[in-house]
């Protein structure tokens, strides 16, 4: 397990002892997805189909962009009511690469607004202004 944040991008990786075909379904089947993230999911795993996820009181909304079983799935991502990260603002790409009988998962979340803020703490005022813009 590891994560990096750089230039508005978060990369997370994980090694899983199962084949990509098995792991892939955990990104497209609501019952399987919610075993590891969120409480409730409405998924339509076709390009243009919905990727809606309720995590506690936070609602994430997105759209599947690329669905290529069993190796690649991408979807847009955003949070209802969050102006810094509105629905559709960023994209998540998941690449599943076989590693023997196992799978290497590389998840890349691009287009995050926090980017510039990390480099300049004073940027938080700008960030807040964005959050507060109505």
């Amino acid at each position: 397990m590891s994560a990096e944040v750089h230039d508005g991008i978060v990369i997370a990786t994980e090694h899983i002892q199962a084949a990509p075909e098995v792991v892939f379904r955990y990104f497209t089947d609501p019952a399987l997805l919610t075993t590891w993230i969120g409480d409730l999911a409405e998924l339509d795993p076709l390009p243009g189909g919905r990727f809606d996820l309720v995590m506690g009181d936070v609602r994430c909304r997105g759209t599947y962009l690329v669905v290529e079983p069993p190796h690649r799935v991408t979807f847009s991502w955003g949070i209802d009511g969050n102006r810094a990260l509105p629905p559709g603002a960023s994209t998540v790409e998941v690449v599943l690469t076989p590693d023997g009988d196992d799978t290497m998962v590389v998840l890349t979340h691009r287009g995050l607004p926090e980017n510039r803020i990390e480099q300049h703490r004073a940027g938080w005022e700008h960030q807040l202004a964005r959050l507060c813009r109505t």
Partner: protein, 117 residues
């Protein structure tokens, strides 16, 4: 102010929830450059004073507002620290989520024991 412990409500989720309301974002915008009395905050809204007080309460419990008493007045100012937890939200979200994914997949699809890892 220093030494204040992080309340359990001060999670990225709570901060996002607090920020999800336009009135609450407006309150933060009002106090971001300096403290203001509650009455002056309420005067900026068409909401009832009670509704504004409730919004202030949500922001306070998310750690986004600092309250100071000056005689009978309550003065509020922005507290930035919780916003930083939002910044880290996604950086923490995905590694933790993938770790749960690994557990979920491997529990549902156990490999034969005695097999080389």
């Amino acid at each position: 102010m220093v030494g204040r412990t992080r309340s359990k409500n001060e999670t990225p989720d709570a901060v996002l929830r607090a920020l999800a309301d336009p009135h609450r974002r407006q309150i933060l915008r009002l106090v971001q450059h300096g403290e203001l009395p509650a009455g002056q905050i309420a005067a900026s809204f068409t909401l009832t004073q009670q509704a504004v007080s409730q919004h202030i309460g949500v922001l306070k419990s998310a750690g986004l507002l600092t309250e100071r008493r000056d005689g009978t007045r309550r003065l509020y100012s922005l507290r930035q620290e919780p916003l930083e937890s939002v910044r880290g939200l996604l950086a923490e979200l995905w590694p933790e989520a993938l770790s749960r994914l690994k557990r979920a997949v491997e529990e549902a699809h156990p490999r034969d024991s005695g097999r080389d890892a």
